[in-house]
Every structure is written in C-alpha cells, then in structure tokens.
Amino acid sequence: MSRIEQFQYDNRIVRAFGMASFLWGLVGMLVGLIIAFQLIYPPLNFSQYGVPFLTFGRLRPLHTNAVIFAFVGNGLFTGIYYSLQRLLKARMFSSTLSWVHFWGWQFIILCAALTLPFGITNSSEYAELAWPIDILIALIWVVFGINMFGTIVKRREDHLYVAIWFYIATWVTVAVLHIVRSFELPYSFLGSYSVFSGVQDALVQWWYGHNAVAFFLTTPYLGMMYYFLPKAANRPVYSYKLSIIHFWALIFIYIWAGPHHLLYSSMPDWVQSLGTVFSVMLIAPSWGGMLNGLLTLRGAWDRVRQDPVLKFLVVAVTAYGMATFEGPMLSIKSVNAISHFTDWTIAHVHVGALGWNGFLTFGMLYWLWPRLYRTNLYSTNLANIHFWVGTLGIIFYAVPMYWAGWTQYFMWREFTPEGTLAWGNFLDTVKQIVPMYMIRGVGGLMYFTGAVIGVYNLFKTAAQGSFLANEDAEAPAREHLVAPKVAGEYWHKWIEGRPFQMLLFSTILIAIGGIVQIIPMVFIESQVPKISTVKPYTPLELTGRDLYIREGCIGCHSQMIRPFRAETERYGEYSKSGEYIYDRPFLWSSKRTGPDLFRVGKKYPDSWHYNHMMDPTTMSPGSLMPAYPQLLTNPLDLSLLPSKIVALRTLGTPYPRNFEKEAIEKAKEQALAISKNLNDQGIKDPGLENKEIVALIAYLQRLGTDIKVQPTATSK
C-alpha cells in the first residue's frame, strides 16, 4: 500500500468562474430580452435618435457571444475546475495559470462587449471578434490546456474517468476549430478579411459554428453531467460500455455534420449529403449521453421530486435528448427546407441553450454553492420556483417560435393557382408572426426572472455560509507512471491510463471529417465553377460591404437564394457558388427576419434605399427594421481602402497592380455618381457623396447583378 498524501483542492477558482458564469449569464439573457422586444417594437433600437450601438444587428452577436462564451464558457470552467481536481485527486497544476485563465477569459469577454456594439465584427457567427481578440482567445485557451494537462500529469489516479475524456476532446477540438476559423489577414488594427472566400468560407464557418455547439456547448457539459449527476443522485453510472462507445462515436461523427447548415445552398451536393448522413448517424451517439444520464437515475426517481438539483439536471438531459433528436431531423433536406432561415432554428437552439446548458449550469451551481460555503441551500422553495418559472419560460419561448417557423414557411411558399406568390409582399409574412414574437418575449422574460431568483438564492446561500477556500483531501500517491495492466480488465482501460495517447487519438478522430470536407473544397478548383462575368467589388462597393458587416445586417438578411420556385419567384435566379468567390467573409446568413438581399441590386432606385435607411417604414409600412439615419450623416471614411485592397489581392482577389493607389479616387468617382443620381431622384441633401450611405447603396445595388450581364456559367 502506497503512502497516503495530504493535499488541498482549490475552491477559490471554482467560485470565481461560478460567479462569472451567472453574472454574465444575466447580462447575456438581458441582451437577449432586449433584442426580442426590438422585434416587437422597433423604436427600442434607439437608432432613430442617432444612437448606433443598440440596433438588433449589433446586439445580436453580443447576445450570442455573451451566452455562449461568457455564461456557458464560465460555466464549463466552473464544472471542469471543480470536477477535474476531484476526479484526479490533485490540486490544479498551477494557481497562477488558473488565475491567468480566469482574468484572461473575463478580459476577452469585456473586449467582446466593448467591440461588438461598436460594429467591430467580421460577421462570422460565433466568431465575430476582431483578430487581436482571436489571438488572445488562443493564448488563454493554451493556458487552460497547460493547466488541465499539468493537473492530469500530477494526478493520483491511474485512470481517467469518462468526464475527463470529454474535457480532453473539448480542449483539442475547440483549439483546432478556433485557429482554423481565425485564419484571416488583418488590414488594420481591428479589421481583417477571411483567408477563405465564398463557398469555402461558408463551409469553414459551419464546420466551426456547428462544432462550437458540439465541443463548447455539448462535450464539456456531457463531462460535467457525468460528474454532477451521479454525485447528486448518489447512484453509479449506468453503463461504462455505453460511455466508451458513445464518447468515441460522438467526437468522430459530430465533426462531419457542419454542412447541414448549408442544405440547398450553393454548396456542392456531395458536401451537403455528407452533412445530412452524419447528422442522422449522430442520433445514437448523442442519445448515448442522455441514456447514461437518465438511466443512472434508476432507483433514484423518487428523489427527483424533492431535490431541485436533480430536477434541473433531469430537464437539462431531457432537453439535450430533444435537441439532439431534432437536430438530425432538421438535417434531412426536406425538413431543412422548412426550418432553414425561419424561427424554427431559433426555437431549436434555445431548447439546447436554455434547457441543456442553462439548466445544467443552474443545477450544478445549486449543488456546488452549499458545498463551497459549507451550508444548506438558502431556500429550496425559491429553487423550485426558479425551476418551474424557467421550465415554463422554455415552453413559452419554444412553442411560439415553432409556430412562427412553420407560419413563415407556409407563407413564403404559398402560390395562387395562377402561379403568383400568395404573400408577395414579404412584410405580410413578418407582420403575421409578431404576436408569436410577443409570446416568445414573455417566455424569455420568465426564464430571465427565474435566473434572477436563482442568483439571489445563491447569494443568500453564500451569505449564510462560510467559504471553504482550500478543501482538505487525501489520497494514496500514484505508484506507477503508467497504469499497469491488470489481467481481465477491459481493453479500453489501456487508453484511460494514457492521457497523451487519448489526446492524440481524439485529435486524429476529430480531424478526419474536417479534412475530407474542407481540403477538396479549398484546393480543387472545379468544386466552385467560375463565372466569367463575376468581378471583384469596386472600392466603394467594398466599403459599403464593410458597412453591411459593421451593422450586422447578416442577423436578419440572408444572401442565399435556394433553388425553390418560391424563392426564385420572390428574389430572382437561385444563387450560384461562382457568384461568391470574392466574398470575404461570406454573408449568406442563417435567418430571414427580413427578405433575402442577394439579388436586391438594381431592384429599387437609389432614392428608395436612401429613404428606407432613413426610416424603413416610409418605404415598407410595418417594417421591423431599425432606422439608420446616422448612415446619412456619418462621413464616408475611405482611408483604409488601400490596405484593404492590398489585403484582398494578397488573398487572391484579382485587383490589378497598384490598384490600391487609385482606389480612393475610384471610390470618390462612384460616390459622386450615386449622389448625383440621388439628386436627380429628388434627394436634395448636400454633400451626399461624402456620406456612408452612398457606399452602402453602391454595395446593395451591385448585389447579385453580375450574372444578369451574361448568364452563362463556364466551368473552368
């Protein structure tokens, strides 16, 4: 028998991450509430008073980033820092690294909160942040990795428990995803263009975006479930075999499923099909986690009625099961044709976010806080109220959004027998769902109220207890550097004793799917048939495009006309992959709260856009779009154009040599022409050629017009 060692667990870092999680969680949910009500009552955008940083387009990425990276991010660090130490029988490798990690992460969140509302974004969903912040994220993630692997190395357990397999896969995959998605060429201190363009950028984006859900919102939380659920239920995990199979199957299959975000787009059919079939194959591995969670509760269901922690965990795991069944269904083409671009998607992600991540976080915190503060939970009643208000909130959120999604689908595609769109005016389809948006707002408000009650309960719990900063523990020292083989033990034990092999195998498995999909798309030219008439943007259009990105137009407007008659009748010829080759980043979007804009070019006169930006309701009565009067008065800044042109040419856009020297001149010429045009159409404001609006008009009027010139696609 080996020597018993005394040591202490670090609870301070756990408490810090826990507090950060619920405090940022409240902020993220509040921003979500604000943007939900903006869709009911557009004046809440405040942009009509010339305040630019509170519009839906700018706040929406703040909401998603705050909830994903601040609320859930800090939540998963809470769970990992607590369970990792105990599962390995070791204190964290380095307190310094722990605190660098903590403050670094909070600083990143602060940077996000200080850049996104100011329009500093690159429009890639969940990867909007400017390149210096991207670098910071990578550095902090490495710090986290060193700290985690350091702890694993100095562990007092021979083998790694299943939770830690998930933590390892999380770490390596998020690192790979983040780094590849951040391949971008800076043109200024905060601005950059994606290395990938058009269809390729779309593929990389959804390989990233989908797997951010998989490896940031799912795998670490599964690991946490494997720790906190058996602890709270005081029951053994149902099946060790199931853990093994569903873990490896999950991480291998998940990575392939990204293209299901791009069904019926200009993505080649083979990529789309891979996305579909791997998503369908993902049901069982995902449900493996749910089963192992729910079946662990066998014999403990009576306690679920009494223990709020278990209630939260059960609803979380159930929501996970529902979302991971719905996801594969949404990946089937004909179902996706219904859901894509509609509020069904919003319902789907919120079942996952509010149910799975939100409730698991709260369940965990309710379990942790009394232990960290050596006391009982302040109020079980309040926790129960939180549970019911939150659960009802999820239902009130999701059901109207499903309803809205189907309504949109049916209205968008309904034809009269004579072959015209029954709801030709897109606004009719928007006004129809506003009542659903109201109910959704109520649901969100309920969930938020629950969270406030929860935070109050946790603070009261902390106040009545005394914090245990360093928790005494003891365990036998590890005798062997490498776990010895025991006769008759399960084959999988081998790798459980070898964390670095586990890291290696995980890396190989998660790399395969991405490589098979991305490498051919990026390096085989025939995957994206060239169209001879498609030309790079003019300098002014490029400037306008960057304004479109700055304002977050992507939050409501797609630029992808799918090959459905209902879309080609409404918007024009369906989109071809060759039309996007100069798009860095791509701006297909995934939501149509407003109409598609891919072929809006030349559809309306310049003055229409001018008036529409000043106040959308003048041109489209009942529109939910914020007003953008500041675009009409903001001076047009062309100073970055030369470096933008150079950056784009470096990445492969065929601007001629020395074009950067005449770019500003060219932009001014075009601006003058547009302002003259506006003048002819009755807009008499002076100095329009020096305002941002002309650049945005230039871009919008260019959109989708290249193939009208000569609609022959030539494969090269």
Binding site: Y226, G419, E569
Partner: protein, 320 residues
C-alpha cells in the same frame, strides 16, 4: 432470417430516402400529372408491405414457438422425461424468462436489476462515483445500426448509383410542374387577361379592391394619394411609359427595372393588376396635396389606337 430482416429494413429505408427528399415534388417523369398515381401507389405499397411484414413476422414467431416446444418435448421424451401435453412447462426457459421477456432483453432493453447490480459494479471509484457495466441498451444499438444503414442507402441513392436528383434537377422539375399547373389554372379564366386584352374596370367593387392593392403595395413610392414620391405622380396627365389601361397594366406587369419600378407579375395576379391599374386611372385629375412635378409626355386617349407601339416609342424618350 436475420439477414432477411435487415435486407427488408434496408429496402424500406432506401425507398424512404426518396420520399423524404422529394416530399414536395414527384419523381422524375416527363408528365407530372400522370405521375400522381405512382406517388400514392408508393405509399399504398409501403403501408401494405409493412403490414404484411408484421403479419409474416408474427406468423414466423408462432411457428418458431411451436417448433421450439416440439423440439423440447422430443428431447425430453428421448431422455425419458414425460412432459405435460400442453407444453406449459417448457415455454418458460430455464432462467424463468418468458418469450416477451427474452425478446425485450434481446432487442429492447437489458439492464441488470437494481437488486443484482452489485455483480456489475466497478471496484474502483472516482471521487465516490462508481460505474455499472450494463450491456448497451439493445434498442440503442439497433437504432445506431439503422442510422448507419440509412446513411449508406442515402449516399447510394444520391451519389453512388441511385436515381436521386441533384438539387438543381429537383428545382427544374418543380418549375416544369408549376408551369403546367399554371397553364391549366389560367386556361379560360378572367385571370388570363394580358396587356393586349385588358380593359379598364369601372364597377365600384373591383375598383375598391384595386384601391386596397394600391394601398398595400404602391403607396411607398407613388404616395398615399398617387401624388408621387420616389415614383412619378399618377394623378396628372403625364405618363413616362404611356397612359391608358393597357400601358399601365404593362408597366405594372413587367416593371421598369432600370428606373426602380419592379415587375409585379410574381406578386399580383393578372386580375389584380387589372384592378389596380383601373384604380390608378381613376386618380387622374384628383389634384392631391404635394404633387410631384409632371414627368413624361401628355397622354391622350385618342392615341389608344395603337397602345403597344406608342408604349415602345415612349420608353426611350423617358431617360432625360
């Protein structure tokens, strides 16, 4: 028997793949009308086939049960043991599980009961957490296998040799079917009006509908009373693209994209365009406040003799 079952499931899945992917359209065929029947037949076939399959399975299970009983009786007799004639003693297997229990354990769920779980409990614990070594839930394994078969069938159907349509082909088919249906719907109807046959309506009913269409679609550019805004004044005698019902109808139908007037043919039925065009003609001389300055040329009804040619002449002269 097992192989046969999987084969049947596989075939069913492959047929499903085509149904799911083309729910809105019909399979490739020159005439969509004729093709309605096979679509229904596919479903009839599927449902009937599934029922038949269930019946066949139930029958085979019965036969199997009977043979099993007979075999046990034979074996018992050979060993000199007498069994009750009804065979009740042998239906239950030695472990005491009945048929449905065995089926459940094999294909559905096979957890070790809680009171016996000490047998499969891990010896080691992680911070107090122990693990059971329960068998994988059989239904879960079966579901996993089925999804893999589905994936292979899907890839085969769409890429490796099946008849799956590409999304572009699906689209072309959808448009072809729509064209046919529209032609059928328009045949002999008032909706069939076009710019050569359209006449101005004067009844208050259709004009009221026209006014509503105008309010919903046109006021953004032409003003609430037709006084003009982004678009030209519709209440004066001047017209950019020709006045009179036929020219106004034509402008609405095809639009003047280079000047910002969109084509409304996708959004308004021909009869609706007729109504709104008729309503617009009634606006002449209403003198609303804040009128936009006249644009184009004075249109006189005498010129209606050749509306089309006039319209063509009017077009180039408008770009001033």
């Amino acid at each position: 028997m097992k192989t046969k079952k999987y084969l049947l499931i596989f075939l069913w899945l492959v047929s499903q793949a085509s149904l799911w992917a083309q729910a809105a359209t019909t399979p490739a065929a020159p005439d969509p009308q004729v093709n309605q029947l096979p679509q229904i037949m596919t479903w009839v076939f599927l449902i009937a086939g599934s029922l038949l399959f269930i019946v066949a399975m139930a029958y085979m299970i019965k036969v199997n049960q009977f043979l099993y009983k007979r075999a046990l009786q034979l074996e018992a007799r050979l060993n000199g043991v007498e069994l009750p004639a009804d065979g009740s003693a042998v239906v239950a297997d030695p472990a005491g599980d009945g048929f449905w229990t065995r089926m459940r354990k094999k294909y559905w769920e096979d957890a070790v009961p809680i009171d016996r779980e000490a047998d499969i409990l891990s010896h080691h614990d992680f911070d107090g957490i122990r693990e059971l070594d329960n068998r994988l839930p059989p239904w879960w394994v079966n579901m996993f296998i089925l999804t893999i078969i589905y994936a292979l069938g899907y890839m085969f159907y769409y890429h490796w040799g099946g008849n799956g349509l590409s999304q572009t082909q699906e689209y072309e088919q959808e448009v072809a079917i729509a064209k046919k249906n529209i032609a059928a719907a328009l045949a002999g109807k008032a909706n069939a009006v076009d710019e050569s046959s359209v006449l101005a309506l004067t009844d208050s009913g259709p004009l009221g509908e026209g006014e509503l269409i105008f309010k919903n679609n046109c006021v953004a550019c032409h003003g609430a009373k037709g006084e003009g805004g982004v678009g030209p004044n519709l209440t004066d005698e001047y017209w950019l693209h020709g006045g009179g019902i036929k020219n106004v109808f034509k402008t609405i139908k095809y639009g003047v994209p280079e000047k910002g007037m969109i084509s409304w043919s996708a959004q308004l039925k021909p009869s609706d365009m007729q109504k709104v065009a008729s309503y617009i003609l009634t606006l002449k001389g209403t003198n609303p406040p804040n009128p936009k300055a006249p644009q184009g040329e004075i249109w006189k009804e005498e010129a209606t003799a050749k509306p089309d040619s006039t319209a063509k002449e009017a077009l180039p002269s408008t770009t001033k």
